[in-house]
């Protein structure tokens, strides 16, 4: 393209330094906010005022911030559940099913303790809480492993199986917690029995300890993918399955491994929301909403390009927007779905502008050599 004497060209990037990726992400957030202003204007709300409400409630409000953080931890864990298979070139669309299974796993452990019907039962938290987490992870890993096994052994498309397992998980929870189900709340409100007070998760400044677990997990995963043999094998399989097979990596094992690990982390997300977030402490009636929320893990994982550390701020942003968007919608008396619309616009702009992860615009002044260009083949 030519503008006057200046030549503007699109050039493929050779490498993408992390700060460039960060700048592109921030740029796309700004573009998304500008685009979303139109929605505010359309509804007769001053955009600046609208965004102020959203961000103030999400990140600065005493009541809003803990909600944001709890949602962000949940989204972040779902992101990790997506990222691990993603690094192996596989798509985990089944975080919802895996977290449903995880919820049943966690409450299954409590059921075995006999917690149903006795909210005051004493279980030593040092035993009960880890067992609940393990139960959640095992159940999630099991569901994930089914998809991984089918993929590795029979080459069944993992997107299809994980989606189908979501449905199975959804109805299985329904069977377990609704009328007459084994985990039904004795008071009968189409939700599971309450978690005994003694095994409620310890809080740090009002935030459940799962925050620490999530942050440690981010660092651990980053290290695993950067420095360890197992991470190397997963990445190799993801980049080029044929080359991985050539170098002796078992192509049947890797899909099982990544889906079990991903499912386990999705199970942990279930533990976080149903077993650790203050005020929930049960498999809530609206558990399907959390299944829907888990899908943000996909988009966060894609925006983070599979990097678990980059996923932290992105999960925080999305957690904040779902939370603040819902609040602003009520307060400014806007139509239903403003929060979803905002997230939708944000996702689309971020994905579209990821174009610049791979290309850059080079501005060539007349009479000057190109100095900063990638290799074109």
């Amino acid at each position: 393209m030519k503008i006057a004497e200046h030549d503007i060209r699109l050039v493929k990037r050779v490498e993408l330094p992390w700060w460039n990726a960060a700048l592109i992400s921030i740029f796309s957030i700004v573009v998304a906010l500008i685009l979303f202003s139109l929605v505010f204007v359309h509804s007769g709300v001053n955009p600046i005022n609208g965004f102020k409400e959203i961000f103030q409630f999400a990140f600065l409000n005493r009541n809003g911030l803990p909600l944001t953080i709890n949602r962000s931890i949940f989204i972040f864990l779902c992101t990790c559940a997506f990222i691990i298979p993603y690094r192996a070139g596989l798509w985990n669309i089944g975080m919802a099913g895996q977290l449903y299974a995880g919820a049943l796993g966690a409450f299954g452990v409590m059921y075995l303790f006999g917690a149903k019907g006795d909210p005051n039962l004493y279980i030593a938290p040092g035993i009960g809480i880890p067992l609940m987490m393990i139960g959640a992870m095992l159940a999630g890993g099991l569901i994930g492993g089914i998809a991984g096994f089918l993929r590795g052994r029979f080459n069944v498309n993992e997107i299809v199986t994980t989606m189908m397992l979501n449905s199975i998980g959804f109805w299985f929870v329904s069977y377990m917690v609704k009328e007459g189900g084994p985990f039904m709340n004795p008071v009968g409100r189409s939700e599971s029995f309450d978690l005994p007070v003694s095994v409620r998760a310890p809080l740090i400044f009002g935030i459940p300890f799962t925050l620490v677990v999530a942050l440690l997990l981010a660092v651990l995963l980053y290290w695993v993918f950067a420095k360890t043999r197992i991470g190397y094998k997963i990445k190799s399989y993801g980049h080029n399955p044929l080359a991985a097979k050539y170098s002796g990596i078992n192509p049947q094992v890797i899909p099982v491994l990544v889906f079990v690990l991903g499912g386990m982390i999705a199970g942990l997300a279930a533990y976080h929301y149903f077993g650790a977030v203050p005020g929930v402490f049960k498999v809530a009636r609206n558990y399907a909403e959390f299944g829907d929320l888990s899908f943000y893990g996909i988009i966060c994982g894609l925006i983070a390009q599979g990097n678990p550390l980059a996923a932290i701020p992105i999960s925080l942003l999305f957690g904040g927007l779902t939370n603040g968007g819902r609040f602003a919608q009520g307060k400014l008396q806007m139509g239903f779905g403003v929060d979803y619309a905002l997230l939708g616009v944000m996702m689309i702009t971020m994905v579209v502008l990821q174009f610049f992860y791979r290309y850059k615009i080079v501005w060539i002044k007349p009479e000057k050599e190109i100095s900063d260009v990638g290799i074109i083949r």
Partner: protein
């Protein structure tokens, strides 16, 4: 000698001062040449000499930064391949651009104006048949393209270009996938084309004999510049190679005499199925000893790929046994075989042998990630791997800015050097080298072959799979031509004759007397 004026009159395609800049590699600088009607004008150059760039400029895929193109004396400015095709430039790529499920005639009709809105098969068929007869192509026009051999597919593309009215036919590595008889037929056809005033421009990296055989003139590229331009009459392989590489190249390797040691690989009645579930390898048996190169000569698709994969553990054996140093490894996994001393250099450098988005260090790790020395307790020692990679880069003269660049950035020859370095550095007992010099330039071929000979001196057993008779004969101690999954014969190199081996590669059984 014709005067300048006469040449210009005859020239169909003329390039003046073509310059195309890319950062780093693959540029063209001030390229001048003219191609005359009725001439076969080869463009010769190593990988990275700028051949592909030039070809893309002639075909309108790239626009030159400087310089002009003239077609029939008229200045042209190709914005896209469509402009080039309309002018009369036909291009036959190395990668086939055909619809596999369609018949030959359908492929030729595709996009051609004579096909009409309502397909006029009769007219097209008649015209195409005439073309085939004229240039000596034997093709069943109703056959589906997927049923054809690689050579026949190339013929389809050539006819397609001719049928579109090409006056200049550009061929990218036209003989690289052909068996010797197919090559002979193609060369005959090219000669006929030149006689009927077409200009044929083959782009060739190696196969110097082919260049000498058919072309009237040669333009040699090196580092993006034209280094020589001469009539082929009077040129020799040596002089061509010298102007390509810029130094003397040893074309014929001297045999390295190594005493044959004890058997390393013993293969008995080995069979394997192909991807498409037919028996591609049919009960082959042979033995390779220490310090021996065993050559499998064959046109690709005759079971040699399957043989290499079965030996490397990437494909399971349907029947038979594989012994490595006397130990049965038939049921061992790929990883176990790497550990026991099998080293595999695959033919598909980019698809199998390397990971394009990995750094060179991570690519070297492909053969080391399972070694405790470099990955103690599951944590990769990147410092040690970096050192190893740097040493390999230095020892094998891999041209790269450093070990941190992605493998994608390496040229074919340098990537092959890196893969070879990685595999040979493990000091394998058995080296499976599948088409190790395919698509490389003369300098890199020499390097790779010398490294294999070095490994032979170091007492390794080497299985060399090659599509080129010269290579198979000059490197191997024994040669086995392969055809449709069977070894036609196993011949000591002293008894192997070029024509004989070539005939067996094409499926002609050795005469009973010679047995």
């Amino acid at each position: 000698m014709p005067t300048d004026n006469q040449i210009k009159k005859n020239a169909v395609l003329e390039a003046r001062g073509i310059t195309k800049r890319f950062p780093g590699c693959c540029a063209n600088e001030q390229i001048d040449f003219e191609i005359k009607a009725g001439e076969v004008h080869a463009i010769l150059g190593e990988n990275g000499a700028g051949k592909t760039t030039l070809m893309n400029i002639l075909f309108g895929l790239y626009q030159p930064d400087e310089g002009e193109l003239y077609f029939d004396g008229e200045k042209v400015d190709f914005k896209s391949p469509l402009d080039a095709i309309k002018k009369g430039i036909g291009m036959v790529h190395q990668k086939r651009k055909l619809v596999m499920a369609h018949s030959v005639i359908e492929n030729i009709m595709l996009g051609h104006p004579h096909a009409g809105e309502i397909l006029n098969f009769k007219r097209v068929k008649q015209e195409v048949t005439e073309l085939c007869e004229k240039y000596g192509f034997k093709l069943d026009l109703n056959a589906k393209v997927w049923q054809l051999s690689e050579g026949q597919r190339q013929s389809v593309e050539i006819i397609k270009a001719l049928y579109r009215g090409a006056k200049v036919l550009i061929l990218d590595e036209p003989t690289s996938a052909l068996s010797p008889p197919e090559t002979r037929n193609l060369l005959d056809s090219i000669r006929t084309m030149a006689e009927s005033d077409l200009a044929v421009v083959p782009f060739i990296t190696h196969k110097l004999p082919v260049v000498l055989d058919i072309s009237h003139r040669v333009t040699v590229l090196r580092n993006g510049k034209v280094t020589a331009q001469f009539a082929t009459e009077g040129a020799t392989e040596k002089s061509l190679a010298k102007s390509m590489v810029g130094r003397e190249v040893i074309i014929k390797l001297d045999k390295v005499e190594v005493e044959r040691g004890k058997p390393v690989l013993e293969v008995e009645n080995l069979s394997a199925y192909s991807e498409k579930d037919y028996l591609a390898l049919k009960g082959v048996s042979f033995t390779i000893h220490e310090g021996e190169i065993f050559g499998i000569a064959g046109v690709s698709g005759n079971g040699q790929e399957e043989l290499a994969e079965v030996l490397a553990g990437l494909r399971s054996a349907a029947t038979g046994t594989i012994l490595l140093d006397g130990e049965d490894i038939t049921r061992n996994s790929t990883l176990e075989r790497w550990r026991k001393g099998v080293g595999y250099v695959p033919a598909e450098r980019n698809e199998v042998g390397s990971i394009a988005d990995y750094s060179l260090i991570d690519n070297v790790a492909m053969n080391y990630y399972f070694e405790e020395e470099y990955v103690p307790r599951g944590v990769i020692n990147y410092k040690g791997l970096r050192e190893l990679t740097e040493n390999l880069i230095a020892e094998y003269n891999v041209a790269t800015p450093g070990p941190d660049v992605n493998a994608r950035a390496l040229s074919g020859g340098n990537l092959q050097k890196l893969i070879l370095a990685r595999v040979l550095s493990r000091k394998p007992r058995l080296i499976i080298a599948s088409l190790p010099t395919q698509g490389l330039d003369v300098g890199a071929i020499e390097f790779v072959q010398n490294k294999l000979l070095q490994a032979k001196k170091d007492k390794a057993a080497i299985l060399l799979i090659s599509g080129e008779i010269e290579e198979a004969l000059s490197l191997s101690d024994r040669v086995a031509p392969i055809y449709e999954g069977e070894l036609m014969d196993i011949i000591p190199w002293t008894d192997a004759e070029r024509d004989n081996v070539g005939a067996m590669m094409a499926g002609i059984k050795p005469k009973v007397e010679s047995l």
